[in-house]
């Protein structure tokens, strides 16, 4: 963290991202929207809720809906492992929403120059991506939180 802080001071304004994995791919979530990261716990199914909602969990006494970003992006069904985490996002209008990810790796700082905004895929999952962060050898797809928020309320 101290390293990234130094970089912040010297170069352009950098944003911090939480790097998570879904399958073999890396995804980044703007840390300012992340409230919390919790281990997998029992999710209570909510009948008649949209299918991409796994259900609700108890987050310190609050009931928080959890959605499967995999299902939303047309990926394979979630496989729950020991590394599975629920990222709790705090959204402006929708309140807390949890999303399931396969694992959480690290926190990374990226400046705008390190982000590729022009990319072209016709895949439905790119709908949720608004940039690709280049970090050494890895490519990190950056989630568009606003998009997730609007999708969340559908």
């Amino acid at each position: 963290m101290s390293k990234s802080a130094e970089l912040d001071a010297t170069a352009e304004v950098k944003k911090q991202y939480i790097v998570v994995t879904l399958g073999d791919e890396f995804y980044g979530l703007d840390i300012s929207f992340v409230d919390n990261i919790v281990r997998m716990q029992k999710i209570t199914r909510v009948p008649k809720a949209p299918t991409h909602y796994k259900g609700v969990i108890n987050l310190r006494g609050e009931v928080v809906p959890v959605m499967s970003i995999r299902k939303k992006m047309g990926l394979q069904e979630d496989v729950i492992t020991n590394a599975t985490r629920i990222i709790i996002l705090k959204l402006q209008d929708q309140g807390f929403v949890g999303i399931l990810v396969d694992s959480v790796n690290e926190v990374f700082s990226l400046g705008e120059s390190e982000i590729e905004r022009n990319f072209n895929t016709k895949d439905s999952k790119s709908n949720f991506i608004n940039g690709i962060g280049k970090n050494e050898a890895r490519l990190i797809s950056l989630f568009d939180i606003d998009k997730i928020a609007t999708e969340a309320s559908k």
Binding site: P47, V63, G95
Partner: protein, 709 residues
């Protein structure tokens, strides 16, 4: 003086006074001769005037001053109360309310000086009394509160029997005074009068005490220091001081404290407070000429005590009259209460966790633990109840504006009608009370406009000309019922049905099958107005559907029952509280669900063979009633199971008069649950009304029973 910090107090108190004025003017209209009411109004107007003056709201002060003048005349029997006066008074009240709401928004009274209203007031006065009223306050006005208070006041000013010479002291204090005096100490008495407009009497008194303590030791207080702190005094308080300082110095120190009108100081001698010592020579006769008189009045302490306590009793009675509903309250931000409530909820959940743990580890000798947990349980239950009670407020605060509203409507519509209210003290959760005002207002307006017929029609149908509207509230189990009933024309179900068919809501054939009740319920559909012409009171078709959706958003429901020519009754049913309910926990497959206990009628175990079919739908026939069955597993999209049980568990729930049998797999038991929202994104769920957290931290969903009908 910077008054901004008192603004909240000012607004709150003004609203209280306005409400009291409104209530009393209503009473006055019915009983124009009621002296108590007139006094009450006078006091409220006077307080408003004083408060407005202190805060520097000149226009408001002016208006209330003129109102006060009118009441002065009414009190003196120079003016008779008539409906013109009442109208003008209500105009004034609206104007004052206008000031207060402007002040609330902008901290300023605004530029509207309500000259028209004031002119009306003064014109009325001139007309009725035949002469212009001196707008200066008469001396009698000064003594607003009670005869007793005025007695003390006036006697004060004449220096006749200053209060400090006959204070109602406790025996201990008396002994102290006598000791000091016999020890040769110099004791002086001080009686202080605060100015009438003084807002913070207790604070002023405290400043006086502080100033006086610079000079010596205070031996006795009257009223007691505690009472003074609680503002349990009118304008006057006294104290006895042991000092060697110059009286003039003390006097000027006291009078330097702001809002203190006057201070009377004189020496105290043994006579005043000595029981057995007969007439002795006063230590300083020339300085204390009134001692002679005091002696005769207070020949014995007992006598004086009796008298003093009588006076103070009268004063208290008078004060009570002035503030009829002076419950001791603290105003708390509702957010803080919500926080507190959330924390109590968490505590209950944590306790439930412990209970679950203790049960599972009982083998390891957890008797001690269980005992402690039971103790904790008692505490959390108690705490929960207290917090709930804090959140409960009487619906009075909402309904007390209705009599005025009905009166205005009655004049506007030219239909005489009375509003009869009962059960105003019924308590509901604060959040519910805040939101129930609009729906109730709609219902009342509806009754006044559509329900009550005009006097001619009423007379023809053999009813008294004056229509009646009842507003009744009472608690029933975990619900509060509020009924709005009128003795008007009732709902013409035929024309409602015709309209429904016209609108294409039902076909003609379907319509024939509908019961009267079902037809009446069409009125709650959006934009379904039955008014033949639109008035500004109701009839735009935005009334009853709004009522219904408002009430439903509070977790309640509304029904109508009507009989042609006899009247209609709208029944609003509201949950007592939104936060915590008693629920029956049930199991459907391996999922746990909660059903609100309040809606459960009974629970039955029925052999599968007893299930009958009516129109291809499953029903059971139970003690003379046919109850349709609803299978929870199908509704909740559960997977099918292989094993078909021989008996089914049926939870019979009801809504209004109809019942439904809910088939579940297992019963777990009764539990107190904390209702939580499902989260905004999936809140809009037909069958689930919320969620709760169980003792093991798991989330269970609450079934919305209303959706099953």
């Amino acid at each position: 003086m910077d008054v901004s910090q008192y603004l909240d107090v000012f607004i709150d108190e003004s609203n209280e006074h306005i409400q009291s004025l409104s209530d009393n003017i209503m009473i006055l209209e019915k009983e124009p001769e009621n002296a108590d009411t007139i006094n009450e109004i006078f006091r409220a107007a006077h307080s408003l005037k004083g408060m407005a003056g202190t805060m520097g709201f000149k226009k408001m002060q002016h208006l209330t001053h003129d109102m006060e003048n009118v009441f002065q005349e009414v009190r003196n029997d120079n003016v008779k109360v008539n409906s013109d006066l009442i109208d003008i008074l209500f105009d004034c009240l609206d104007a004052i309310e206008g000031y207060v709401s402007t002040i609330k928004e902008t901290s300023d009274e605004g530029s509207e000086d309500n000259a028209v209203t004031i002119k009306k007031l003064n014109d009325f006065l001139t007309k009725e009394t035949g002469s212009d009223i001196v707008s200066e306050k008469t001396p009698e006005v000064e003594t607003t509160v009670a005869e007793t208070a005025s007695e003390t006041n006036s006697s004060d000013e004449q220096n006749d029997a200053v209060a400090y010479t006959h204070l109602p002291l406790s025996d201990d204090d008396k002994m102290k005074v006598i000791d000091e005096l016999e020890g040769g100490a110099n004791v002086i008495g001080i009686t202080v009068n605060t100015s009438k407009e003084c807002l913070l009497k207790a604070a002023r008194a405290f400043l006086v005490y502080k100033a006086v303590e610079e000079f010596g030791e205070i031996i006795a207080y009257s009223p007691s220091a505690q009472d003074v702190e609680d503002e349990k005094f009118e304008t006057e308080f006294s104290l006895l001081l042991q000092t060697d300082c110059d009286q003039d110095d003390i006097k000027s120190a006291i009078e330097n404290v702001s809002e203190i009108k006057s201070a009377v100081i004189g020496p105290v001698n043994l006579d005043m407070y000595h029981e057995n010592v007969a007439v002795q020579e006063a230590p300083d006769k020339s300085e204390n000429p009134k001692v002679e008189k005091t002696k005769t009045i207070l020949s014995t302490i007992d006598n004086s005590k009796e008298q003093a306590s009588k006076t103070s009793k009268n004063a208290i009675a008078a004060a009570n009259k002035g503030k009829p509903v002076a419950t001791r309250t603290v105003r708390v931000d509702i957010d803080k209460l919500d926080d507190l409530m959330n924390q109590v909820s968490e505590l209950i959940i944590a306790k439930n966790t412990l209970v679950a743990r203790a049960n599972s580890s009982e083998a390891e000798g957890g008797a001690d633990l269980t005992e402690q947990i039971e103790y904790l349980e008692r505490i959390t239950t108690g705490l929960h109840e207290s917090v709930m009670k804090v959140r409960m407020v009487p619906i009075e605060s909402v309904v007390n504006k209705f009599p005025r509203m009905i009166r205005d409507l009655s004049r506007k519509l030219n239909k005489p009608m009375d509003l009869i209210m009962s059960g105003e003290e019924t308590e509901l959760d604060r959040t519910v009370v805040d939101q129930i005002g609009d729906p109730l207002q709609h219902l009342l307006r509806n009754s006044a406009d559509h329900g009550i017929e005009d006097p001619k029609t009423r007379k023809m149908s053999g009813k008294p000309e004056t229509g009646k509207i009842w507003l009744t509230a009472y608690q029933e189990g975990n619900n509060v019922i509020i009924k709005v009933k009128d003795d008007g024309a009732g709902i013409d179900t035929d024309s409602v049905l015709r309209k429904a068919i016209e609108r294409g809501i039902v076909s003609e054939e379907e319509g024939k099958k509908l019961s009267k009740k079902e037809i009446a319920n069409f009125l709650f559909m959006p934009s379904f107005s039955m008014a033949k012409k639109i008035t500004d009171i109701s009839g735009r078709g935005v009334g009853l559907d709004v009522v219904k959706s408002n009430v439903e958003s509070l977790g309640g429901d509304v029904e109508v029952h009507s009989e042609m020519g006899v009247g209609s009754t709208f029944t609003v049913r509201l949950p007592l509280t939104l936060a915590i309910i008693q629920a029956l926990m049930v199991e459907v497959r391996d999922e746990k669900y909660a059903i609100a206990l309040a809606s459960i009628q009974n629970i039955e175990y029925i052999p599968v063979t007893d299930i009958k079919y009516v129109q291809a739908k499953e029903v059971i026939y139970l003690r003379g009633t046919v109850i349709p069955l609803v299978h929870m597993d199908t509704i909740l999209d559960c997977q099918d199971t292989e094993d078909k049980p021989e008996d089914i568990t049926v939870v019979v729930v009801n809504k209004g008069d109809s019942s439904v049998g809910v088939v579940v797999d297992n019963l777990i038991g009764q539990q107190e649950i904390v209702i939580k929202s499902l989260g905004k994104v999936i809140e809009d769920n037909k069958y689930i009304s919320g969620a709760t957290i169980l003792g093991d931290g798991e989330v269970a969903l609450i079934i919305d029973v209303n959706s099953l009908f």
